[in-house]
Amino acid sequence: MQPFRVHTGLVVPLDRANVDTDAIIPKQFLKSIKRSGFGPNLFDEWRYLDHGEPGMNNAKRPLNVDFVLNAPRYQGASILLARRNFGCGSSREHAPWALYDYGFRALIAPSYADIFHNNCYKNGLLPIVLQESEVDRLFADTAAFPGFKLTIDLERQTVATVDGALAYGFAIDPSRKHRLLNGLDDIGLTLQHAEAIRAFEAKRLADNPWL
């Protein structure tokens, strides 16, 4: 996993609540046995006018020009601004894979669904929670200023405009922050406690032999 320290990027606003993982990456693309290549099909049903299937040449498909990701001013965006309960629904990690593969490095929303939120951290994608009023302000500023960018500093836990005029703090679990800052592999970290796991397991299986 790539470490996440400081990231400055263009912001794209997705102004709807309860965006589910079926919308983020539709089911037909879940048939892949790989982790990569999902970016062109991110928000597939909203992004294209035709029906997408695996194996299509996405560059030749008709775009829905009304969908915000297709607006010229938001090309190259790497920060997705969203509404509450983003990522609800299924546990498919293909959702954060698709967001990352598209080029997103951070998300900003008032809240996320639990499994999706957790899956983001495993892939170096930072899901930032801000207050509803702060998110409202960022939606207004993104609309008002073409080329609106934000700088996210994970060490300092801040989201700020590039000129520093507006800055919000955000919370994150210390252990998640540590793993993201250093790009650490969770499995490697857990296996440092292999002895403790073995001891726990031996006792548990002895006490519950039906397991």
Binding site: N18, I33, S91, I115, K122, P209
Partner: protein, 468 residues
Amino acid sequence: MARTLYDKLWDSHVVREEPDGTALLYIDRHLVHEVTSPQAYEGLKLAGRKPWRVASVVATADHNTPTKDWDKGIADPISRTQVETLDANIREFGAKAYFPFLDRRQGIVHVIGPEQGATLPGMTVVCGDSHTSTHGAFAALAFGIGTSEVEHVLATQCLMMKKARSMLVRCDGRLPAGVTSKDLVLAVIGKIGTAGGTGYAIEFGGDAVRALSMEARMTMCNMAIEAGARSGLVGVDERTLDYVRGRTFAPTGERWDRAEAQWRTLVSDPDAVFDATVVIDAATLAPQVTWGTSPEMVTSVEGCVPDPEKERDSTRRDDMVRALAYMGLVPNTPMTAVHIDKVFIGSCTNSRIEDLRAAAAVARGRRVARNVKLAMVVPGSGLVKKQAEAEGLDAIFRDAGFEWREPGCSMCLAMNDDRLEPGERCASTSNRNFEGRQGAGGRTHLVSPAMAAAAAIAGHFVDVRRLH
């Protein structure tokens, strides 16, 4: 100190804890299916790792498998590759049990876990699927995980996580006749919203839940995730023990006695304190029907399509307008005036024997309405199918004009050939009415099995209690 059921399950699985509360939680049962596991096994291979405890893994292929013409195999080459990849991974890495495509015990992973006794009270149960919450009906701490965590559990038998808050959803009274646990859980989601349970483990309690069968409790816990909660729970009682006793992987003899004694403690202490409590009166509920593109967009079958004009919150109003446009519905239309094109009876929410019996009781001696293009019944597993056929339910369905299919996830998420075409409207016993969930442009209304069968007969939604 008095503890909730969730506290007890959590405490008994913590291997170690960091100062910030992040714990290593030991996992007893790992359910594996073909969609969310290939990348995890690949990661294991690339790192030269082996599964920590093969005996914890129970696997099946369910999401991609076809529901008819099994003798022809899986036609879609991409789906076939995914199923064959699971075959190969289980061959290479092993499992306690594997129910591959075509096995007579194959089925939806959340149906076969309990059916085989592979889900037992007191366990931690995980699967790369959000509806793993289903298994909480057995007082097991069960929740969905992503593929990175599937790999993490395979490699370490543990997960790194923080404890959730606890919520009691207390369902008072008794459900009236014709009103089911599906209606009850939809009403709960309507009340607290799809994010109402985010960050919580929900325990379903109260007289109405105590009176439910295990199948009905599974339906409720299954949909805890639609209220935002990764886990749903119901405490152990006689019904739990009666269901588990005698199943393939359940303990027997002296081990059963020991297990039973432990399992009986798996209830919240009487004076346990929950972080939140929601009370719902089950006795006054009517059958529920969703009208929108989120499970919280739900009303009684006696109600009407809501009017966004009356919603004050602007984000919510925009959501409603968008949902009604997608669903092709006009505000203030009675739900019973909404006509349907297809009916799907199945999914990990409602494909167990009791669900099929309830639907068959409505279908018996009647005919599917002419405007309904397809009404399909997809049993949750090969064993459910066999049981239903032994009871003659397949004949009832066929005589009424329903298609009787092979087990699998089918049109709940439409990864196989079972799907809605753009604009088609479906009465579905599944769990999600999201845009495109059952097929691009498809319009899903979530209902109970009896309500789905009634809609198939009438050709539109109808109060199953008034069907003559």
